[in-house]
Point group: C2
Chain length 480, copies 2
């Protein structure tokens, strides 16, 4: 912008001041560049922060449930092993180019729990075998009937079998156990019958596929059962046990909070958190429980569970727990209702309600102990009796409400025995307390049914007798 | 056993009576044969009857839900079409022996609803593409690093990516949308990177696979969208609408049955059946609703639903309906409780309780109408107001319980206005009525929240204005 000109002989400096429009263009150009840069940076930063958040989430999940991270490692190990088939010449020559099927089997069949993996393995094996045999049969028939009818027969058979097998997947009994098998059946049948039109060595193909699938499935089963196995049965057992504890905590927390024993705000928040978290998990646990029970049926004896462990009984117990959870959901509403019961009444009832809720949650916790130790409890009947006593006491208090005025604080004087209604409480004020009491009584009834279900389970699963241990320890004490 | 002998010239008949042991052997042999026959027959008959029952079940399912049978036919059609690729020479030469992948894609990807099929198609395409590209990249790096390191690099990369992708399937956001894609990613990556060790024409392989998958997926999408499409969005819409009607019927049936308006035994049974069937479906509908909402997001605009229809709002409405169902579950308990309320009290309350329950179920039915017609209702606010009036009336009756004695039959005389407790009902007898009333009030509150959720949904989904029609019809009337 500084120009040297030789006008009029002398040396003269002329400074070209850039005109405004050019300046504006420059400025706006640099501005738009900066904006683009900023936009890009923003995009990149946003993208990175999203990835970072995702990684944080993944990390926290891995820390919370390391089993799931281990499952990832297990799949990696199984795939690495199966891919070795490609590298080792002798093995490769054995199964030929079909080693691909082994890789595919591992990827598709390897599930989180042992039961699910076994279920898929068995389904895959049976489905492949049946469909392979049927495909060969149809192929043979088609070959016998001449070149003209061959494609028609094959097409029609593919259509009919695919339609029938697909529809069968909607039927509950098939859906629960053989859903995957039906899919594999369709897949294999159409591959075998259709590819037969081209490939002549069908038997060899079938043999290769079966052997590669056998390699894949056995590898999956070994990996899933040897390294940190996750048994569906075990998971179901602990899910139900956990649900019992959660409901016990929710029930107690809810009632204690309402009658205001914990005056501390912090502990109240914690308690209400526990309450809302606890039983809400149970409300929607049906699908998970059913899936796990389904998978658990495929599992061999493991740990403390036999092959024919009565998994169905777990579903019954689970259903009863859910019924308790529905009641607690309504209880939670009553305790948070606007109409506040008078303080005297609350104090009068608190003893009985808290007594009932704590004895109910004791029963639930004892049920959890039965499940955890897998021994029949000697105390449970006693505890149920205690709970029933608490129920009758509460019912008695409800009955007495109409017969005598509420007992006031000892300072104010003692309550009389007459029907005279000077200290009578208005019905609207009783409503929340009455509904809480009836709900508690109903929950106790449901828990009792739960105890029956647990006893049934304990009998069918042949839990140890709870008395044995104490007797043994007595004997040991006597002998020593 | 009748022998003709010619002894002593004359004709003599001798009858050989078979000895006892032989007879016994014969009898026992024939007995065991009969037993085996019977056993076999029993087995065959049992087997046949089981198959017969299974077929009956399948038939009744097909009659009840013909859509599911049609889905089977659709899969059959799609598979028959894709298997034609094997027969038509030019097409076969185009995609080579990889036509198998097209068959496999159809079998694996074809789902019941359009949304689920689209979700799987997109997942399969993205997963295959990403994994193919990454596999080629790893392959190239491995090739650059010499024969010695090549297998190590490939094995390590397979292990790491398989483990990471498997673990990512547990993260909720991935699980909800890209679960299948992650599996396909692992599958394709391991196949590409591992098979690359042998096959030189990797690019060709990748190209073939992508083109066959494109053929399979496009065929699936066409078939699922053209012949009797089952839209996940539609299903979700009608599921929620149906749930509203079910809850309305359950609520009304439950209250009416308790207050004993239907004295007829048969109709009572029917009603109670309806009650128990209706709301119980809603209790466990969460998983289905979430899955459908997930699939509905993948669907293009169809029928009355746009691409970005607010499916999330349906989940909110569904959750509120479930909360109503929890209350009805408790209500059902209260109405079946042993302590019977006195007849006078029942009569006194029946008007208000039935009034509230019928106005509540009217609101629910109006909500269902809003959903069905997809037009905003002009009546709903009025109906909510009516419901709230009914709530206040019932609350008023509850309050008045304490102030004045219950009105007896006109024969016995009129109730006075004093607090004197001659006609006072005992509290224990009020309990069931009081809890039913509070539950009805709570249900009304939850229904009101449901109406808010519906209005939110109607705004976001831009439902038609309900007034338009009536205005239009008015205009038409005026002009004519």
């Amino acid at each position: 912008m500084v120009k040297e000109s030789k006008q009029s002989g002398g040396l003269e400096w002329r400074i070209n001041v850039p005109n405004e429009t050019a300046a504006k263009v420059l400025v706006s150009e640099s501005k738009s560049q900066i904006r683009v840069c900023n936009g890009l940076r923003g995009l990149i930063v946003g993208f990175m922060s999203r990835i970072w958040k995702f990684l944080q989430k993944a990390w926290s999940l891995a820390v919370r449930e390391p089993k799931k991270a281990i499952h990832g490692v297990k799949v990696g190990v199984a795939l690495s092993i199966v891919s070795l088939f490609y590298y080792m010449r002798p093995l490769y020559d054995g199964v030929g180019g079909n080693a691909m099927w082994a890789v595919m089997t591992v990827v598709v069949v390897f599930e989180y729990t042992v039961g699910a993996t076994l279920c898929k393995c068995v389904n895959r094996a049976i489905g492949t075998f049946l469909a392979g045999a049927l495909g060969l049969g149809v192929h043979w028939i088609a070959n016998q009937s001449g070149e003209k009818f061959k494609p028609i027969i094959i097409e029609v058979s593919v259509f009919l079998l695919a339609a029938a097998a697909t529809f069968s997947r909607f039927i509950p009994t098939i859906k629960a156990r053989f859903d995957y098998g039906a899919m594999i059946f369709i897949l294999t049948f159409s591959l075998v019958s259709v590819s037969g039109y081209r490939v002549d060595e069908l038997f060899e193909l079938a043999h290769d596929r079966l052997s590669t699938i056998a390699i894949g499935t056995s590898l999956c089963i070994l990996t899933t059962m040897i390294f940190c196995p996750v048994w569906a049965g075990n998971e179901l057992h602990y899910l139900i046990t956990n649900n019992m504890e959660k409901i016990a905590d929710s029930l107690n927390g809810c009632v204690v909070e309402y009658f205001g024993i914990n005056e501390n705000v912090n502990s109240k928040d914690e308690a209400s958190d526990k309450v809302s978290q606890g039983y809400k998990c149970v409300l929607n646990s049906k699908a998970t429980e059913e899936a796990m029970a389904n998978f658990a049926r495929w599992e061999p004896a493991h740990g403390r569970f036999n092959f024919r462990h009565p998994w169905n009984e777990y579903l019954k117990v689970g259903a009863l727990l859910r019924k308790c959870a529905y009641c607690i959901e309504t209880l939670n509403v009553s305790t948070n209702s606007d109409t506040e019961a008078p303080v005297i009444l609350k104090k009068h009832f608190s003893k009985y309600c808290i007594g009932l809720s704590s004895s109910s949650s004791d029963v639930l916790k004892e049920m959890a102990v039965i499940m955890n130790t897998m021994t029949k409890s000697t105390k449970i009947d006693l505890m149920v009796n205690e709970m029933n006593d608490a129920v009758q006491e509460l019912q008695g208090v409800l009955k007495s409400l109409s017969k005598q005025p509420i007992i006031r604080d000892s300072k104010n004087g003692t309550g009389g025995g007459n029907k005279s209604s000077t200290t009578m409480v208005r019905v609207m004020e009783i409503v929340p307390i009455v509904s809480i009491s009836t709900l508690l009584i109903e929950i106790a009834a449901r828990i009792e049914k739960g105890v029956e279900a647990i006893n049934e389970l304990a009998n069918k699963a042949e839990f140890e007798e709870g008395t044995k241990k104490s007797k043994q320890s007595e004997n040991q004490q006597n002998s020593s």
